[in-house]
Amino acid sequence: MSSYKTALSKINLRDSFGTWWENASKRQRVIFRLLMIGFFYALPFLDNPLIGTPETNFQSVLFYPLAVFVAMAVGLNIVVGKSGILDLGYVAFFAIGAYTHAILGTFYGVNLWINIILGSAFAMVAGVILGLPALRLRGDYLAIITLGFGEIVRIVALNLEITGGAAGIAGIPAPPNIFNVTFDVLDPKPHYWLMLTFTMLVVWMYLRLGKRRPGRAWEAIREDEDVAEFMGVETTKYKLWAFVLGGAIGGGAGAIYSSQVASILPDYFTLNVSILVLACVVFGGMGNIWGVIAGAVLLQYLPEKLRFLSETRILIFGLLMVVMMNIRPDGLFPRKKREKVYDKVTGQEISR
């Protein structure tokens, strides 16, 4: 049993890549980045038996669930992974963004670009309203409140007239053509690229924040909130920011989503979605943005690729969460490189 565990712990993609990256020159890094970006934009055209999904439209899968969940995982990572705030109701922000575009776009003719901003904004407002009182509480209580909030949003959407009740909203408009690219339900590519661009902007923003003071403040809060406070970190402010930023990202993604699918139902915004996004973060590597993206891709792609997994998707995700927490709580791609460990008393290096 233990040899199998040591073998498992030796699988460390993170370290091998991490080492390469650290030794790479600036030029190499730029080329790598450009290649990766190019690859992701080109993906819709790379539908072949190797990469493609057998029973569903690959391009459609690229948008949903892949791009959508990656975007949400990036957002939730700021909240759960980086700051340690367990949010079980993340889908609420997604729903707010989706319904914002659904309502304002379909009934009031507001275009998607504005609605992405408005969707994010409303989600942020919701984040503040919920966050201000809730973030004062300890982890488990907070988790339950966020779960409650997620459910409340869904049930309200189910029962209000303006959200279309159980029938939802249909005929949601897509944005007008840009550079001769047509956005519509039938062709997921433009929306995919839109979501991809959105996500990249978000990741860019996150990288800047993560390496600087906010990132340190968030991690300190995650590690030991009381001590962070003693070290001059304004924990209330930063927790709220994490929560609100995460919400904004969810809201923006939601607006883009509703534009692509053109009709939404409250059923699309269940607790399951929150848990699926959480699984991506937990599985991928809490706090490690690349790990989270990789985790989201893996968890959303594999069930599409391997059909038999698809039915039992949530079953496996549940099991995965239990297993991950017990064996590799840091996720598949942990935040930091595995390091030398020193004996506490003698200062001698301990071999692993």
Binding site: R213, V227, G232, K344
Partner: protein
């Protein structure tokens, strides 16, 4: 000497338990003050009240004549009171450098928006935090640990790191809670020198310690708590011969000197 930290008539009650009763303490500029007393006397409670974790039932805490009552802990930290903890509480998953930078950040102004847009101010702040942190790691003799995760450091270095992090706040008074716990005699001597070095660098120090020889060797002034009340205050030699103190410790003072 100017009194930096003043604790006046501090009373702290938790439900029915009186943890501190009318305690008066002060720390003046340039001194190493020690707070000693048997276990459970309330010493860490003093730290907790002074740093804003608890609001006192009665009494006042002031720093440079400014009252700290009702202020949140992060504000108090930025106004000049930084502390370490009895059981080391580092940010385990962050590197040593990052730990100290977190403290150094508190001295900067730029927050979230600036950081996103990478304004020149934020880049300057970042460089500043970085260099301050590096300096402090050097000062504490643990530069070589800079890139390592705090939880992987050996014990002695962890203690030093915790002190470095507190110093990054550039406090007026540094509160050390049993910094020598778990050290062997050699390390305790080094620690004593380190604390003196800190004092000489311009920080006043308030020290909670159980190791009497360390306390007696480096402190300028010692206050003794027992059952939440101050029972004596004076120079180390005065305290050592104080009958009340001896009684409170039941002979521990004699054994250690």
């Amino acid at each position: 000497m100017t009194k930096l930290l003043e604790v006046k008539n501090l009373t702290m009650e938790f439900g029915g338990v009186v943890a501190l009763k009318e305690v008066n303490l002060h720390v003046s500029a340039g001194e190493i003050a020690a707070l000693i007393g048997p276990n459970g006397a309330g010493k860490t409670t003093v730290f907790n009240v002074v740093t804003g974790y608890y609001q006192p039932t009665k009494g006042d805490v002031s720093l440079n004549s400014q009252s700290m009552l009702g202020l949140k802990s992060h504000k108090i930290a930025r106004l000049g009171l930084a502390r370490t903890f009895q059981n080391i509480r580092l940010f385990g998953d962050m590197t040593a450098l990052e730990n100290v930078m977190t403290g150094a950040d508190a001295r900067n102004k730029v927050g979230l928006i600036g950081s996103i847009f990478g304004t020149s101010r934020s880049r300057q702040d970042e460089k500043l935090s970085h260099s301050r942190a590096a300096e402090l790691l050097n000062f504490m003799g643990i530069s070589h640990r800079s890139g390592q995760l705090a939880r992987n450091l050996p014990y002695g270095d962890q203690r030093r790191l915790e002190i470095a992090r507190a110093l990054a706040l550039e406090p007026k008074v540094l509160l050390l809670d049993e910094p020598a716990a778990g050290f062997n005699p050699q390390e305790k001597v080094e620690l004593g020198d380190l604390i003196k070095k800190i004092r000489d660098a311009g920080f006043a120090v308030l020290l909670i310690e159980h190791d009497m020889s360390l306390v007696m060797k480096i402190s300028d002034r010692v206050s003794v708590l027992d059952f939440g009340q101050k029972i004596a205050e004076g120079t180390p030699s005065e305290i050592q011969s104080n009958q009340k103190v001896i009684d409170a410790y039941l002979g521990v003072v004699e054994n250690a000197s």
